[in-house]
Amino acid sequence: MGTSASTPAAAVDDRVAPRSGSVRLLRRPEIGALLGAVVVCVFFLIVASAFRNVDNVGTILYGAATIGIMAVPVALLMVGGEFDLSAGVAVTSAGLAASLLAWYFNFHVWFAVLLALLISLAIGAFNGTMLNRTGLPSFLVTLGTFFILQGVNLGMTKVVTGNVASNNISDMQGFESAQHVFAWEASIGSVAIKAPVVYWLVITVVAAVVLLKTRFGNWIFAVGGDADAARAVGVPVHLVRLVLYMFVGFCAWLAGMHLLFEFNTVQSGDGVGNEFIFIIAAVVGGCLLTGGYGSAVGASIGALIFAMTQLGINYAGWNPDWFKTFLGVMLVLATLVNLWVKKKADAR
């Protein structure tokens, strides 16, 4: 794939005719999400006075970052035509692995953090390899991993600590320096920025550049569009899938390290259900559930919409009984705006 058709200037075919800049922009998958985000933002600026307070921007960005760090790799995976239902508990697994290894073996915290990275990458590699070897739908493969990890998280924690939460490791060597890396907080003016916000932005930029500007990015679109056709033109389909799953593993490790060093202990039952939030963010951000179409920036905007809605309801001080309903309505509206823009652009 990745070959751009050079059109002879003389015989312009309307199928490959250059489109105007505005239409090209409107056809980007994330534009609908961006408009949706603006609508949600304006809405809460009007109804929630606390939303207008600049100091609170840090809270909203942090809320978006904890979703976005995982939504971006999940979006890439969806562009490549696959799912990962284990992404939510994989974050908990990473945090538990580092904490339990450090505590049980009295390891230096940094050594345990690196071992946890290897474990997270291995979980990703396991998903990718299983998928490549068996040819089963990724929905089934990662559903299996989801249950395996959920059980291991609980069982292993119980075996190691005798409790269902990891033990506090904040008195161990290396904890403080690791905290400075994974759970720092800095102030820009009156806005407090937490570590995941920066990691989230970096991951988004890297993923967007890889997806749009590199050969590997083209391979991802090709594999997601039609894996057999991609293989026929020489795309290493298995490698692409493996790398994508390991990227999810890497980001799960990063998110897990933040949880561990922000909260000192990890509850073994946490993370269940988050996989859907990541997928929702990716879909709101313009990813198709069928693969081959989507964007990294869109997924991040999806995460932002989710966080703005979630926190906006709090900022507005609405009756919390209806919280989930508000959330659902806002998400549907954002997705509809998204869809409408895409239709308009396609019609042109």
């Binding site: 073996f105 924690t157 900022y315 919280f323």
Partner: protein, 332 residues
């Protein structure tokens, strides 16, 4: 495997091993806890082995229920009981687990009645099959009518009222009550109890399965309403998350909670959390199993047909030291 990859593998393996040996922490960790655990070992009954099923509505990986289970296990070890623990937060599935215990003809069933209507039928079946049943933690107003032998737990509404009374005495005017499990009757009762004492109490629902999302939700609430002076959470781990939220929102609100965890005991000691309402979950599990054993071996009924209240008691800075030494093994 070529000799080059074999050599590479050997190098990697050696590096990991050397790093593992060199990369040890000399403070904290497992070593500190193991000695304390070795110290405890109670006497043991010589009565014939009996089988008891403990069926709760706990979700997986819940700190509170782990303490209940530990109490039940300790009682089982002491009473020569084979304890079979199962749990499911879904009412219908929990009832099904009780049915399985009846099918296995266990000698006694201890269960929670958080969703009494779903459990009613199967409890009656157990009683009809002459299997003694005791209830713990939930169902204070329903257990007797179902033919359950005894009840161990606290009255959630009374516990909420007492928490409200204490907050009122300390000068609370605008508290929030953080519910981490939407639709849980016991949690709603606690907040309702608080609200009876302090009508200005606001409810905040958060996702108990995601600490980051809980943190931002509580932070945003504190930022939105600067008048909030007390944050009441309904579980130990949630209170420690609220401590982070308070820092993020630069709020001066005081943090208080229901139920404890190891970390929470440390937080009370450090003064970041003011106090916790303690319903002694260990006691609920322990007494439930012990009651079934007593009934079988000596015909006793603890509490004489009245509910046995295990709480509410308060843990604060004045008595935290007495609790702390038991918290390390996850029993408080």
């Amino acid at each position: 495997m070529s000799s080059r990859t074999r050599r590479a593998t050997a190098v990697v393996a050696t590096t990991v091993l050397v790093a593992a040996l060199a990369a040890c922490s000399s403070t904290g960790g497992r070593k500190a806890v193991e000695d304390a655990e070795r110290a405890r070992n109670a006497g043991k009954a010589t009565t014939p082995k009996m089988t008891i099923a403990l069926v709760t509505h706990s979700g997986p990986g819940d700190t509170f229920w782990d303490i209940v289970r530990k109490g039940a296990q300790d009682a089982a070890a002491k009473d020569n009981v084979d304890l079979q623990y199962t749990a499911d937060p879904d009412g219908a599935k929990q009832a099904n687990l009780v049915q399985q215990a009846i099918d296995k003809k266990v000698d006694g069933i201890a269960l929670t009645l958080a969703k009494p209507d779903a459990m009613q039928g199967v409890v009656k079946k157990a009683v009809a099959a002459k299997i003694p049943v005791v209830a713990l933690n939930g169902g204070l107003d329903r257990w007797k009518a179902m033919g359950v032998t005894s009840y161990f737990g606290q009255d959630e509404k009374i516990a909420g009222q007492q928490a409200g009374d204490r907050m009122l005495k300390e000068g609370a005017k605008h508290p929030i009550c953080v519910i981490h499990e939407q639709g849980n009757v016991g949690l709603e009762d606690r907040c309702a109890g608080v609200k009876q004492r302090i009508p200005a109490t606001q409810l905040l629902y958060v996702d108990g399965k995601s600490p980051a999302s809980m943190q931002t939700a509580i932070t945003s609430k504190l930022q939105q309403d600067k008048a909030i002076d007390y944050v009441l959470t309904l579980g130990g781990p949630i209170a420690t998350v609220a401590v982070q939220s308070k820092a993020s929102a630069a709020s001066t609100a005081k943090i208080v909670t229901f139920d404890t965890s190891q970390d929470l005991i440390n937080a009370i000691k450090a003064g970041t959390v003011q106090w916790a309402v303690d319903q002694q979950p260990y006691l609920q599990g322990y007494l439930a199993v012990d009651q079934l054993w007593l009934l079988k071996t000596n015909g006793n009924i603890v509490g004489g047909g009245q509910p046995v209240l295990t709480g509410p008691a308060f843990i604060d800075k004045s008595n935290v030291a007495a609790v702390e030494k038991f918290a390390a093994s996850g029993r408080r």
